[in-house]
């Protein structure tokens, strides 16, 4: 019995220690990326190729999800507001919910699932098939050539995708509220304009999406590099990317919200 308890604490301790080591290694990777980032901008086509793979290929899922999220917000929001006679505030509700929270957060979660796993799998496989080793032996730094462009691509794509998400979501809310349900169009937009502040809401939302972009991309890159060079190792790493990215995004969302909007 005592043994089991001691075992439990030992596992807890070693797990904590392992995660601490990972955090340190991740920080070191971040600084390496910054040091080797010159190539990502001098040979911009490297980064552009990665923006295509992380950003453009995520467009479809982002736009479709945004439209549905906006419509659901419009639907749920309308029926709740109507009970208090404030159905004209539906525009404000949809806009604020999206711009402040759902835009950055849901985009980040979708990004982690789509682009994050792709990055982890790709880098994990490159490591497993010794492509990274080969590059090193050819005196080309894999961080400069492979990792850094993906990092900057993620950092650039995320805010763009989050902005698109918010805008499409609002359009979705508009379609439901104004076109289908029949809320007054003028009231929809004017109430929204009166209550959504560019600096406080939109810019803060953009800052959130940049922070989430950083977190998701770093996690995806690190898990890919850290994956054991086996099939099982890579698949576990992609799962970890999604799980840890999601938790990080939600946790950071709480932290950022508490000192941005309160």
């Amino acid at each position: 019995m005592v043994n089991k308890l001691l075992n439990f604490f030992e596992q807890l301790g070693s797990g904590f220690r392992a995660r601490l080591i990972k955090l340190g290694a991740g920080t070191r990777l971040f600084f390496l990326i910054i040091i080797y980032s010159a190539d990502s901008f001098k040979r911009i086509h490297l980064t552009i190729k990665e923006i295509y793979f992380t950003g453009v290929l995520s467009l479809v899922i982002i736009v479709v999800s945004a439209f549905f999220v906006g419509m659901v917000l419009g639907l749920q929001g309308y029926y709740t507001l109507e009970k208090y006679g404030s159905s004209e505030a539906i525009g404000v509700l949809v806009a604020l919910a999206l711009v402040r929270e759902l835009g950055p957060v849901v985009t980040a979660l979708l990004f982690a699932g789509r682009a994050g796993t792709a990055i982890t799998a790709e880098i994990g496989l490159m490591k497993a098939t010794e492509q990274l080793s080969a590059m090193e032996m050819m005196a080309v730094s894999p961080v400069a050539r492979i990792i850094a462009p993906r990092f900057w691509a993620g950092m650039i794509s995320m805010p763009i995708l989050a902005t698109i998400f918010s805008m499409v979501g609002i359009l979705g809310g508009y379609v439901i509220a104004v076109i289908i349900i029949g809320v007054d169009e003028g009231a929809f937009w004017s109430q929204m304009q009166a209550n959504v502040d560019f600096h406080n809401d939109i810019v803060d939302g953009a800052v959130k999406s940049i922070v989430f972009g950083f977190a998701c991309t770093m996690i995806a890159l690190f898990e890919g590099l850290d994956a054991p060079p086996t099939a099982e190792g890579v698949s576990r790493a992609t799962t970890r990317t999604v799980v840890i990215s999601s938790l990080a995004v939600l946790g950071l969302d709480f932290v950022l919200t508490s000192f941005m909007f309160v």
Binding site: L125, M126, T129, E130, Q131, S133, A134, M135, E136, M137, M138, A139, V140, R145
Partner: protein, 264 residues
């Protein structure tokens, strides 16, 4: 000019708990094809990684062209690696680039040559390995042997002084094996390079290598030219060369007595 382009002096290395190499000395003469042989897991590939600076020895040193590898700074290692070409076990071609792009990669990264010259050079290298016609293909479309030849073309793209081969014959059909054998020898002589091959393929290697090292239990068990080794009386060498099932390298790994395992 020193006789040995690469030399390993009193090298010890371990992967954490178990020591892999104990105090070994090796020399690789200029212009010669040397082979490192031994059973699986005896640390042959690790030697290549130590020469290339991807791993750091626990004690002793690896000297390449009069420079101690692990004492180099970033630009030092960069310069050393420019002189090396390495062929990985399964080719390690960049899967997102075509055959042409793969071979052009080192040239594009390290030289400022204009595209027209790069094109000519790439086709030249591919021609040397007999794959000029495949230059538009993607690595996924190549067979194992072809992929390895492309990787070889990439390894010699910048005419390196040292070419390292990690198990170049593993998993190849007899024809491809003969092709690779031939290529290793002719390229070495044509480029005046020093080739180091890690393998456990006795017949093929002995047909063209100049000098062979045998690694076992973390030390150099035997060394010499193929002729000397064929005549060697050392039991380990004999077991290896004549493919004997049991000898100094035992068939059974360490285990408690059979009786106790069966519970009798």
């Amino acid at each position: 000019m020193k006789k040995n382009l690469v030399s390993i002096e009193k090298l010890s290395f371990d992967y954490g708990k178990e020591s892999l190499h104990k105090d070994i000395n090796m020399e690789f003469a200029r212009g010669k094809v040397s082979a490192i042989m031994g059973g699986s897991g005896c640390g042959k590939t690790t030697i290549l990684k130590l020469i290339g600076g991807q791993l750091v020895p626990k004690s002793g040193k690896v000297v390449v062209d009069d420079a101690v590898v692990h004492e180099q700074d970033r630009s030092g290692i960069f310069n050393l690696r420019r002189k090396m070409g390495m062929l990985f076990q399964h080719g390690a071609l960049f899967t997102d680039l075509s055959v042409f792009e793969n071979v052009a990669f080192p040239m594009r990264e390290h030289t400022n040559l204009p595209e027209s010259i790069i094109k000519d050079l790439v086709l030249l290298k591919l021609n040397a390995v007999g794959l000029r016609g495949a230059h538009k293909k993607m690595p996924a479309e190549l067979s194992g042997g072809m992929a390895r030849r492309v990787a070889l073309a990439r390894a010699i793209a910048l005419d390196p002084d040292i070419i390292m081969y990690d198990e170049p014959f593993a998993g190849l059909d007899p024809i491809s094996m003969a092709v690779i054998c031939d290529l290793i020898r002719t390229l070495n002589d044509a480029l005046g390079a020093t080739s180091i091959i890690v393998t456990h393929d006795v017949a093929e290697t002995f047909s063209f290598a100049d000098y062979v090292y045998f690694l076992a239990d973390g030390v150099v068990a035997a060394e010499g030219s193929p002729k000397e080794l064929l005549a060697s009386k050392l039991p380990f060498v004999k077991q290896f060369i004549h493919s004997e099932k049991d000898g100094p390298v035992p068939f059974h790994t360490d285990a408690p007595s059979y009786k106790s395992d069966l519970g009798l």
